[in-house]
Symmetry: C2
Subunit: 134 residues, 2 copies
């Protein structure tokens, strides 16, 4: 069912400093920051040959990554995102297998303009998993 | 400098149960378990079209992931591994930029039979980073 690893998301406190780590220290291609107020984050994309890393900084009082950064003040890997062909079929299979989908269970439009769902970390080896319809 | 994302490593308590989550619930291709006593882990590989996920279970009393699992009893993402062309040149660049390499600073032969280094999470946004010579 799952296809490509779309991205690995790393939550950071300071996006400018984090971009510099990836650009200068690790020598990767890093995009300009993009504010996504409807998702409560500002994001930069690190382009690797086979996938991408997303660096996320909290934006606004309701940012979904604010609590994660309270628990992980240095930052840390926040989630992985796998692509699926049909997000509703994927959800139905997951629910049949006893996995919990976060929120209402209905796909929302994610940061790339495509339908996404988040799965409960307790059902996926302590890892927050995002599914994105490819 | 960094190239492909070679893998994302997830530490788990129970490799059989974790394999089942990826095989049955997420519908991915999962390899048979492989014991790597010299690395203190048993590993399975989840093959995705563009990269792989490695599920790691502690093996032996000195496993490098045992403490991580004490802090994260459900499991969790342990590290990401980026490929580099020349691991010593990569290390020298990192050290020049003020980043800390774990251990002796000399590459060791990693789980894929290739030279690897681990970088200090405090210097990389709270993320343990492995570099592997491609």
């Amino acid at each position: 069912m799952i296809g490509r690893l779309n991205h690995v998301a790393i939550a950071v406190r300071d996006l400018a400093a984090a971009s510099e780590v990836y650009r200068t220290t690790l020598g990767a291609e890093v995009s300009a920051p993009e504010a996504l107020p409807e998702h409560g984050v500002t994001v930069v994309f690190v382009t690797l040959p086979n996938t991408k890393i997303e660096l996320l900084e909290p934006l606004g009082a309701e940012s979904p990554i604010a609590r994660f950064l309270e628990r992980n003040p240095d930052g840390g890997i926040h989630h992985v995102c796998y692509e699926v062909d049909d997000i509703r079929a994927a959800r139905d299979r997951l629910v049949r297998n006893g996995a919990r989908v976060l929120g209402s269970g209905e796909p929302k439009i994610g940061a790339h303009g495509k339908p996404v769902l988040f799965l409960h970390p307790k059902d996926f080896l302590g890892t927050l998993v995002e599914l994105e319809q490819a």
